[in-house]
Amino acid sequence: MARLIVRRIAWAIPTLWLIVTISFFLMRAAPGGPFDLERPLDPIVMDNLRRIYQFDEPLWRQYLSYVAALAHGDFGPSYYWRDFSVAELFAKALPISAGLGVTALALAVVVGSAAGAFAASRARSALDVVVTATASLGVTLPNFVVAPLLQLAFGLWLKVLPVGGYAEGAPGNLVLPIVVLAAPQVAAVARLTRAAMIEALAAPASRTLRAYGLPHRVVLAHAFRAALIPLVSYLGPAAAAVMTGSVVVETMFGIPGVGRYFVEAALNRDYTLSMGAVILVATAIIVINLIVDVAYVFIDPRVRLD
């Protein structure tokens, strides 16, 4: 186990380095810069800015100093939000995004697996058809379609929830973003659980339990535990999808999280903030995949360590 973890972490470092390198040169190769305003700055001011931010040095030296700073955990200053370092911006934005994402994932696991198990326990009934059809709609509908439709329904017609805004995390403001983030994952988890559960119910183990004369409820409980195993390995992709979804959701609902910064920073040529966001997302995906893999070994003894 320790070897697996060490090896995975050892792999994570070159992966992260690759990400940093590709995104650094990609950004710098593009035309435009963070200080190109609509009205050009005074050349002297521009020269000073370039010197302070070390843009006058050769690109490879800028790259080396960026990587060196990064190795010490320093993301550098934001080029757009002067007076703020990238770390300070993330310190405010990350808890918001993480809170939304974790809640959405938890909702997806609880609601999705319950719906999937329910459908599987009554396979081919009308209820099963409803769950399956809803799930395939949920998987298909893009979040940028769901979000405005929900804003329209709950915010403008029923007037029960605010259309957008964060309001320092007031619960009402978080309901719609979480639902939009969670919806496709709820659907995916429901489909996955249903399929796994039907398979588990048809397995010899379930037949044996039934032969013992155990009540249906007990057989279902056993099958449900078996069905949760494939679910665990889906959590990695699900977390990645939630992070991607947060870009849309945070933009649409005006939530000051990392996802919204990402697009804004790219549009403003805020090199350090974009880089920081990419590194943050990549690290999160790597860590989550590692946790999922380790958890998998604990949950399913049939999985070998390598």
Binding site: T15, I19, A30, F144, A147, T244, V247, A277, V281
Partner: protein, 370 residues
């Protein structure tokens, strides 16, 4: 009975695939729906009465209606505007079929050159003077109505949403096809070479794929689009470059199992070069798997494009895509919800149908997968 069994036994693999597919009702319905959407998007714009970028200032924000514009109220508003410009009063307005008959009156003789305002409005064609009275202080003018159909309403710039949806659907389908083609070539080439080479090469190539999997690719595509402008070509190159990874894995797995088959060994024994074995013997056997996977990849590619367009990073105005239209609709949900409903419905229909079609194709091509 015996006759029937013989036909099945003699049917070619592809015919059996066709038979299995045609028994799958949702997949057949989806195929028909997609065909309809494709015809709508490809032929529609040339049949439509308006162009996707034609602007009708008189109909800004017009709601969906099966009747052509201008309605009587719209025509009256347009006439009032024209009369104001001619410094005249509307005395009498009568509509008969496709023509409006207007009596204008002013304190001074009306300058007839000003009748060009009729043609300049969106509601009327060139106007004719039918009668002059009081030394030209009163004019009776006949102007044909210029009929425009906007069944899905008009957007905030007064452009016909129906035609714009056709163009958007066209872009989406084109991106689906082209993006998949890019993914197909990279993925199949990479996967087949990796699987067929085996050993260290295979391991190194698959390690690279593993590393690429860890990259937050959507974020890269966003960076790419932001920093390198919004070329139409770049969109599907970027999307294809992102989506080839799964294809490479699947093709590699299939190639690994195929190359242990006797016919490959036979070809090798006959001295056929590795490249020729790949092209002549391995690739055709991969066809079914690839086709099934492509059908499921297409909706993902279309979704990714509309996602980028939604963020404002995809195709640029006046060209449009379903993502752009949905984003536009989301901005006007309060005053013009149809701007959201229609494009969202078309996008959902395309994605839904493609998913069912893909599932059906996979079941038909690869019955073991079920």
């Amino acid at each position: 009975m015996i006759e029937a069994r013989r036909t099945v036994a003699l049917a070619s693999p592809w015919r059996r695939v066709g038979a299995r597919f045609s028994r799958n009702l949702p997949a057949m319905v989806s195929a028909a729906a997609l065909l309809a959407v494709a015809l709508f998007c490809i032929l529609g714009p040339s049949l439509s009465s308006t162009s996707y970028d034609a602007i009708f200032p008189d109909y800004v924000g017009a709601s969906p209606s099966l009747w052509p514009h201008p309605s009587e109220a719209e025509a009256r508003t347009a006439l009032e505007g024209i009369a104001r410009r001619l410094r005249a009063r509307l005395v009498q307005v009568a509509f008969d079929g496709a023509e409006a008959r207007v009596t204008l009156q002013a304190s001074r003789p009306i300058d007839e050159r000003g009748l060009a305002y009729f043609e300049r409005s969106d509601a009327f064609g060139p106007a004719q003077v039918e009668e002059r009275r009081d030394d030209g202080r009163t004019l009776v003018v006949a102007a044909p109505l210029r009929l425009t159909w906007m069944p899905a309403g008009a957007d905030a710039n007064g452009r016909d949403l129906f035609t714009r949806m056709m163009i958007a659907g066209r872009i989406s389908l084109a991106v689906g096809v082209l993006g998949c083609t890019v993914a197909l070539f990279i993925g199949v080439g990479y996967g087949a070479v990796s699987g067929y080479a085996g050993g260290r090469i295979d391991m190194a190539m698959m390690r690279i794929v593993d590393v690429l999997y860890a990259l937050p690719f959507i974020f890269f595509v966003i960076l790419l689009m932001v920093f390198f402008g919004r070329h139409f070509v770049l969109i599907f190159v970027a999307i294809g470059a992102v989506e080839w990874l799964d294809m490479a894995r699947i093709v590699r797995g299939q190639t690994l199992s195929l190359k242990r088959q006797e016919f490959v060994a036979a070809a090798e024994a006959l001295g056929v070069s590795p490249m020729a074995i790949l092209v002549r013997h391995i690739a055709p056997n991969l066809l079914g798997t690839i086709a099934a996977f492509l059908a499921l990849l297409t909706p993902r590619v279309i979704l990714l494009e509309s996602f980028l367009s939604f963020l404002g990073l995809g195709v640029q105005e006046p060209l449009t895509s379903l993502g752009v239209l949905v984003a536009d609709g989301a901005r006007h949900i309060e005053d013009a919800p149809w701007l959201l409903f229609f494009p969202a419905a078309l996008l959902t229909l395309i994605l839904y149908a493609l998913n069912f079609l893909g599932d059906g194709l996979r079941d038909a091509l690869d019955p073991r997968e079920r």
